[in-house]
């Protein structure tokens, strides 16, 4: 049953992405992108990342896509005939993305066993990985004792405290930058 639901949402997300890049109107593109993002939220829940699923809906659909729609509304673009590039660029795009998907699909072959075999040949790397990534079973255990949010919150405010604080500086910079760029006269 879970497998069926996974593939259902996988097909929906790919369909949404294809329609997003082929739709003529930016608003229609944004709507298809929204369906992709909702499907991905469902897939996150299936992958036991309920918190990320909720954040996906709140941040991506609730904030970022609404921002896109606001800008489309502000610009009042009218009805352009089509903004697809010419046949030469399309051919180049098909070739490049074909090569890229062949390369990336090799990720399919990633398995825990293969990773373990590769680490076994490089003990130095094994020690580094041990400190960088505490095992998945540990995460499962943390989620069971601290709850879904607590398991993410503890490392975020301990191990990753400095990157977290830097993130706030990044957001402040983006805020100031957006105001400076978009305002007519400061």
């Amino acid at each position: 049953m879970a497998t069926f639901i996974f593939y259902l949402f996988a097909v929906t997300s790919v369909l949404g992405a294809v329609m997003c890049i082929l739709s003529r109107s930016p608003v229609v593109s944004a709507m298809w992108l929204m369906s992709t993002m909702f499907s991905l939220a469902a897939i996150y829940v299936l992958l036991n990342a309920q918190l990320i699923g909720v954040l996906q809906v709140l941040v991506y659909v609730g904030a970022i896509l609404v921002l896109f729609l606001f800008v489309v509304m502000l610009l009042n673009l009218g009805h352009a005939a089509t903004d697809l590039r010419g046949p030469a660029a399309t051919t180049a795009a098909v070739v490049i993305s074909g090569l890229l998907v062949i390369e990336l699909i090799a990720l399919w072959r990633y398995t825990p066993g293969r990773l373990a075999a590769e680490i076994a040949q490089a003990p130095q790397m094994a020690r580094q990985l041990e400190t960088a990534f505490p095992g998945g079973a540990l995460a499962q255990q943390a989620a069971e004792t601290h709850g879904v949010v607590g398991a993410v919150a503890a490392p975020m405010f301990q191990t990753y405290l400095v990157p977290f604080e830097i993130t706030s500086v990044l957001l402040l910079t983006a805020l100031v930058g957006a105001v400076v760029l978009a305002k007519r006269r400061i």
Partner: protein
């Protein structure tokens, strides 16, 4: 309960979505749709992080947080730039925005 589920299919889906985002960037000329395709690529990367977090622990989820933050900042600044360009040139068609082409 099984710890790791759908690892291979998730990574393959992530690859397909990323490639569709790249294709979108290559074939569209509308700057707003281009930004949407970039968001699509970021989403694909998030999916790979979440799928691998099942194996390697919570760090993957925290990376997804940071990617989402960067995506939000990028969308805000990028769309502000598009607004500024539109005010000067009355278009968001990238073929007409070639001041830096040389």
């Amino acid at each position: 309960m099984e710890t790791v589920q759908f690892l291979g299919p998730s990574l393959a889906l992530s690859a397909i979505l990323f490639t569709l985002g790249v294709a979108g960037v290559l074939i569209r000329r509308n700057a707003i749709v281009l930004f949407m395709c970039v968001e699509l690529m970021l989403n694909a990367v998030n999916l790979a992080f979440v799928a691998l977090a099942q194996l390697h622990g919570v760090s993957g989820y925290i990376m997804v947080f940071f990617v989402m933050t960067v995506a939000a900042a990028e969308a805000a600044v990028g769309l502000a730039i598009i607004l500024a360009i539109f005010r000067h040139r009355q278009t968001v068609d990238l073929q007409n925005i070639n001041l830096l082409r040389g």
